[in-house]
Symmetry: C2
Subunit: 134 residues, 2 copies
DNA sequence: CACGATAATCTACATACGTAGAGAATGGCA
DNA sequence: TGCCATTCTCTACGTATGTAGATTATCGTG
């Protein structure tokens, strides 16, 4: 039942983010949105989108002469998939080292640190409420 | 000068982790280590390793009939690269949401939470010492 | 020195990915 | 109704990736 983790290439990320931003949408629409940053032609965008449909990342529906697309994968799922990939491969599933590496990745503002600390605190409260997993 | 971020495929991750674990090493050695989990033949392992040399991930040196390999990419670099990929594509560079998603990825033990909280606290102290960026 | 075990080299092939052109279809407007 | 613009469909091609077989070279041993 549980869908296996999603993995997206950079090109696919660009596409799906544009789709999320304006669902439902058309290939020409996405192309014009991405044209500036990528320089992709209509053909390129269309090919990518159709391949993503095959992969189950997007869904397409034909309306008259146009095809509209919407995302099947949610931002959460996609983000999760990316994280799982890194977690599994780069950190052998160990979450704390991954967080640590992330925190060292760049200088954090004290604002960011505060936010993250708050997240931890909230989590802690949850852990105490919800009986722990094994 | 600054090396551009490293990205590894799953196969490459397996290889490089085995290499890190026993540098310097040989292809037959890595193959026998990975045989159980992957079923890869010598040819497969060898091809992967040589391609990784071309990419600058590993370095090879010939000693008599054997070729020994060592990693060029460090674990830090490789992990960093993976993280950057996710950060850039899945989170548009926003670190806090990434940490948040990570924390929601699975139930954390209160031990893990403590460790992470400690990391934050340490960071906070650093921020106060080191003059902030911008 | 000849042979067998081990390692190496070369070649191959299917699938995925990035990128796109050429030509067909279709719908709206003059 | 015919033409033009818009969109679609098909095909293509180079590189990357996963996977590996066939053949050759080499080192140590008898």
């Amino acid at each position: 039942m549980s869908k296996k983790p999603i993995e997206l290439t950079e090109a696919e990320w660009r596409i799906i983010k544009a789709v999320w931003a304006g669902e439902p949408c058309t290939a020409p629409g996405i192309q014009s949105v991405l044209e500036g940053e990528t320089g992709w032609t209509y053909s390129t965008v269309r090919t990518l989108m159709d391949r993503m449909v095959v992969k189950g990342l997007l869904a397409a529906k034909k309306l008259g002469k146009m095809t509209t697309y919407r995302a099947v994968a949610t931002p959460r799922q996609a983000q999760r998939g990316e994280l799982m990939y890194a977690l599994k491969n780069a950190f052998n599933g160990a979450l704390t080292p991954m967080v640590e590496c992330l925190l060292n990745t760049r200088d954090l503002t004290s604002d960011e640190l505060d936010k993250i600390e708050l997240l931890i605190q909230t989590k802690k409260r949850d852990v105490n409420k919800t009986p722990g997993r094994g």
